[in-house]
């Protein structure tokens, strides 16, 4: 988890507050165990873990990820604790969070059941 995507120290900003005494948070993505740090947004924790794709679009099933990172574009949405269309870039990561890659507005299983096709 100490991925090379983390900026442990910044030449101008110094050491980030959340890395001073980092607190590890556990969460799952599509059932897989993952970790991040307290102070991470959901999107940042995923980025640090190397996850690029947050969802597949409803019409063309195109992969989408972080695009604006400030809550405006709504591209980075996922199913968070059962709730679809949650903007992960402005949602703080919490211990025990369950994230699901979003297909259209559903989970993969729901989507496949409804559309009668496999992805």
């Amino acid at each position: 988890m100490d991925s090379d995507m983390r900026i442990w120290e910044h030449p101008v900003l110094g050491k980030y507050e959340k890395y001073e005494e980092p607190k590890v948070l556990h969460f799952t993505l599509d059932g897989k165990d993952m970790t991040g740090y307290e102070g991470d947004s959901v999107a940042a924790a995923l980025k640090a873990a190397g996850v690029m794709t947050h969802r597949y679009t409803a019409k063309n099933h195109r992969p989408r990820g972080i695009f604006c990172a400030i809550g405006r574009c709504t591209d980075c949405v996922m199913i968070v604790n059962g709730q679809p269309n949650v903007r992960t870039c402005i949602t703080p990561l919490e211990e025990g969070m369950e994230l699901r890659t979003q297909y259209g507005v559903q989970t993969k299983e729901e989507w496949e059941a409804e559309n009668d096709e496999e992805i």
Binding site: T57, K59, R64, G71, R72, C73, T74, D75, N85
Partner: protein, 111 residues
């Protein structure tokens, strides 16, 4: 809005090689869909929005509006100033119904 005279298209729609380009990311509306709508007589950004859904998604056109305007203007050979703008509507950020339902009119304290 300034005066626009609308008539039946005189020429058939001409596809372009990049018509499959996604313009509205939220609703997955392509350049070709927008161009086609303009060809068929839809002339303003609001009409295009109502017809194609471009700008109607979760972000409410905040990402695509300028690109949609540019496409309409280019198709018609007019200025972007003449294709109108999407009206800003509440809520400018999505609000969960349960939260929306929980509205409070705070009381002014006595002065």
């Amino acid at each position: 809005m300034s005066k626009i005279i609308r008539k039946a298209p005189t020429e058939p729609f001409k596809p372009q090689p990049d018509d499959d380009l996604i313009i509205c990311r939220c609703e997955e509306i392509t350049k070709g869909e927008i161009r086609r709508a303009v060809h068929d007589g839809l002339r303003t950004v609001n009409e295009i929005k109502r017809w194609t859904r471009a700008g109607m998604g979760l972000c409410q056109g905040q990402t695509c509006q300028r690109n949609v305007q540019n496409i309409i203007a280019r198709e018609l050979g007019i200025s972007v100033a003449d294709v109108g703008m999407i009206t800003g509507r509440a809520p400018v950020r999505p609000v969960v119904m349960e939260v929306y339902a929980n509205d409070v009119v705070d009381k002014e304290e006595q002065r």
